[in-house]
Every structure is written in structure tokens, then in C-alpha cells.
């Protein structure tokens, strides 16, 4: 318990000090990521039949409510993830996207009743739902890579939680963009596939992000107490 017990470490840290650019506020960084998602959406919209998309979505309240829910979830989860990525952020940020996520899940879940409500609607068959899964998963890869890279610039002290909320943002964004290429009405099988895809993306982000963020502090910087001591 001597006063200079950490002398080597402190001198080493000071010696390895490089000027850093202060990170912009978390909200700005979240908006930057969301801007990329919007750009992607505009690019995808060029290939989509927007009239058909609009007709489908406006046909039933549960469909546009689900779209609003997933969009809001993407926005709020992105903000929450960036807020959580700074070391002194309260954990309560994780609750920010939950109401929107409930709306998303609730409105989608209503679609399970579609078979009784509107029996004539076209319900996706298995091969089509596989396409949905692939779309969500493959779209999530670049979005996750970008988000994790951006989150990594900060230093989250809740690495698993931060990465999971980031995964929720990615999955919600991918599910929102899926609406451009989703000419089916929601049905139980379809929703299960969506839920599996969303769960998969969140779990993958949590596992991957948790590992990326949780690398021990010593390994991340170029100074260890021993090496400083031997200098």
C-alpha cells in the first residue's frame, strides 16, 4: 500500500500518451450510423416496387404499426448503444428502445391472427421465408461491422449489454429494410423466421461485440507494468 505502488504503470501510461480526438456526443455518433442505414435504404428503394410496398403496408394497421415499431426500435436502440458505449453511462439507457420493440413485436404478433382475419391474403411459404432470413442476416453483417467499429472507439464498461443493444438496432434496421422486398402478409411461420433472424443477429453481436470490447485493458495499450519496469 505504498503511495508509489503504481509508479511504473503511471509513468508508462504517461510515456505512451498520444493526443486523442475527443469523441462527439453519443447522439451524434448514433445519427451518423443511422445516416448510413438511411443511405442504404434509399439505395435499396431504387430496386423496390414502392407502390406495391405502400399498398401492402397501408392495407392493415398491424403492418404499418410494425414498420413504425421496427423503425423506432432501430433509431432508439442505436442511440442507446452509443450512449452505453461511454464508460460512465448508466445502464438504464438499455431500456430506451424497449417500448418501441414492444410495439414492433406486438404489431407483428397481431399478424399471427392474419389467417383468421384475412384468409385470402398471400402467406409466405417456407422457401420465401428462407429468403427473409437470408436478407436479414446478410444485411446485418455490414451494418453490425460498422456499428461495432464505431462503438469500439468509445470504451463500454458493459460490453455485452452494449453489443446486444447494438445488435437490436442492427436487426431492427434490417427488418425495416426487409419491407421493401417482402410482398407477403405476416403469418406465424414468417414471424417465427423473423424472430429467429433477429435473435440470431442480437446473439451474434453480443458474442462478437462482447469479445471485442472486453479485451483486457492491458492487451489493448502498448504498456504493461512489467515492460515499463524493465525500461
Amino acid at each position: 500500500m505504498t503511495a508509489n505502488a503504481h509508479d511504473h504503470l503511471i509513468r508508462g501510461l504517461a510515456a505512451s500518451l498520444r493526443p486523442v480526438r475527443r469523441l462527439p456526443p453519443p447522439l451524434f455518433r448514433a445519427l451518423a450510423w443511422l445516416a448510413v442505414v438511411v443511405a442504404l435504404a434509399i439505395a435499396l428503394a431504387a430496386f423496390a416496387n414502392l407502390d406495391a410496398v405502400w399498398q401492402r403496408i397501408s392495407a392493415a394497421p398491424d403492418l404499418w404499426l410494425a414498420v413504425i415499431g421496427s423503425t423506432l426500435t432501430a433509431i432508439l436502440a442505436a442511440i442507446a448503444a452509443f450512449e452505453l458505449s461511454v464508460p460512465d453511462a448508466p445502464r438504464a439507457w438499455a431500456a430506451l428502445p424497449l417500448p418501441a420493440a414492444l410495439l414492433w413485436v406486438g404489431a407483428s404478433g397481431f399478424g399471427c391472427l392474419r389467417g383468421w382475419v384475412a384468409p385470402q391474403s398471400h402467406v409466405a411459404v417456407m422457401s420465401e421465408t428462407r429468403d427473409c432470413l437470408m436478407f436479414i442476416v446478410f444485411l446485418s453483417v455490414p451494418l453490425s461491422a460498422l456499428l461495432l467499429t464505431m462503438l469500439r472507439r468509445a470504451y463500454p464498461l458493459y460490453p455485452g449489454l452494449t453489443a446486444a443493444i447494438g445488435g437490436l438496432a442492427v436487426a431492427a434496421a434490417a427488418a425495416t429494410l426487409l419491407n421493401f422486398f417482402h410482398p407477403y402478409d405476416a403469418a406465424a411461420t414468417d414471424l417465427v423466421v423473423h424472430a429467429v433472424a433477429v435473435g440470431l443477429v442480437i446473439a451474434a453481436n453480443r458474442a462478437l461485440g462482447g469479445r471485442i470490447f472486453a479485451v483486457p485493458a492491458l492487451a489493448r495499450i502498448d504498456v504493461t507494468p512489467n515492460r515499463v519496469g524493465s525500461n
Binding site: 503511471i10 501510461l13 504517461a14 460512465d88 464498461l157
Partner: protein, 229 residues
């Protein structure tokens, strides 16, 4: 409250209004959420010490090594106090200090000098202390720490190293106290392991007399050792 009048100042730390003016309601709402969540970490008044540390950290962000080294040294007793208050045992406090110093270094780009440095440090130190307590808890659940198990205790059932010799001398004493004829019978039949007829020739006693004397000797010895086997 400044938060209600100028939300952007609180939000962006005085760097000027950055949201377009047509969204003041949104900015104020977001600001309210943020200040509500951050309130417990933000003291109302910033002390001179805190302002000095914030300035040192800002200098460190710009690459000032002298200010940074002074700041880190200044932090060590603060971190120790926070860790102790969190219930970290004295022999683990230095681990928390090291963890927090490394976290400060790694996270220095996330610090906003317009916010309290002490609050920032306290939050990080408390989380690192809790991390350590959890780590210790997990370790205890997995490993057995019981130094008493490896101590040496007197075993009531174990024979001391010299017990063989003392029992031999006790037997010898007991034998010596036997009458001549009985001792003779034990000597020939038990200790020298002769057959009855050999012993009869060697001692010039009858086989019957030898048997009787052996029997009496064993009975006497059994009585002497109090039923010991």
C-alpha cells in the same frame, strides 16, 4: 434551470446549438432524458479540485504528459477510497487502482471536460470495484480455500513413533513378573515357536503341565493389560 432554457448547451457541452432550430422540442426532450439518467453522477457544484482535474484531463487529451502524470497520481488515493467504500478488501484495492488507471487511459477520448471529472472517475472506479468483487465471488464459488485443511493435527488413533518399543518393554516386564513355570511355557511355546513335544523335551516338563502353565500365563497377561488385545 439551464437545462430548460438552453438544452443544447447542456447537451453538447457549450459547443453551440447543433440541432436545427425547428426541433427544439426534440432536443429538449432528449436532453431531459439524458440529464435525468445522468443526474446521480453529476454533482451540482464543481469544486476547484474538480475543475483542475478536468483541465488536466483536457490537457492530457491534447497530449500533455506532465499534466496527465500528475492527474493519474492525484487519482490513486481517490480510487482507493472509492474501492474501500465499495467493500473491496485491502489486499485487492491495488488491483482496482490498476484497473481504473488503465481504464482512464483507454477511455480518455470519451471524457467531456465540461462534465465533472470526479463524477466520471467515481463511476468508473465503482464499476471496476464491482467487477473485481464479482470476479472474486466467482472464484470463491469455483475454488476451495481452506488453509486449516492442510494443518497437522494429533490423530487419536495414530501410534506415536516410539509406541512399538514401549509396548515391547511392557510385555517383557509382564513376562518377568510371571512365575517361573509359566514364563518357561510362554518362552518355549510362543516366543521360540516350538511344538508341544519339543518344548516338553527342552523344559523337561510334561505336555499337560506346559499347556496348563501357558494357559495360566496368557490369562495372567490378559489381566495385566486390562483386556487389551
Amino acid at each position: 434551470m439551464a437545462a430548460a432554457v438552453q438544452p443544447n448547451v447542456i447537451l453538447w457541452g457549450g459547443s453551440g446549438p447543433l440541432l436545427p432550430p425547428q426541433f427544439p422540442g426534440m432536443a429538449a426532450g432528449y436532453c431531459r432524458v439524458r440529464t435525468f439518467l445522468m443526474t446521480d453522477a453529476e454533482p451540482q457544484l464543481r469544486s476547484a479540485d474538480d475543475l483542475r482535474r478536468a483541465a488536466q484531463m483536457a490537457a492530457a487529451q491534447a497530449g500533455d504528459r506532465v499534466a496527465y502524470e500528475a492527474l493519474l497520481r492525484d487519482c490513486v488515493p481517490l480510487i482507493r477510497a472509492i474501492a474501500m467504500r465499495r467493500g473491496v478488501a485491502a489486499d485487492h484495492v491495488e488491483d482496482v487502482v490498476q484497473d481504473v488507471l488503465l481504464t482512464i487511459h483507454r477511455a480518455r477520448q470519451t471524457y467531456d471536460p465540461n462534465r465533472s471529472f470526479s463524477a466520471w472517475l467515481r463511476t468508473i472506479a465503482e464499476r471496476r470495484a464491482i467487477d473485481l468483487l464479482r470476479r472474486i465471488g466467482r472464484q470463491r464459488a469455483r475454488e476451495v480455500h481452506s488453509p486449516l485443511d492442510f494443518e497437522t493435527f494429533a490423530d487419536e488413533t495414530a501410534r506415536p513413533a516410539d509406541s512399538g518399543r514401549s509396548s515391547a518393554s511392557r510385555v517383557n516386564d509382564a513376562l518377568a513378573s510371571l512365575p517361573e513355570r509359566q514364563r518357561e511355557a510362554v518362552q518355549a511355546l510362543v516366543l521360540e515357536e516350538r511344538s508341544l513335544s519339543e518344548a516338553a523335551i527342552a523344559t523337561r516338563r510334561s505336555k499337560g503341565a506346559l499347556k496348563v502353565n501357558l494357559h495360566r500365563a496368557l490369562k495372567a497377561l490378559r489381566g495385566k493389560f486390562g483386556g487389551e488385545t
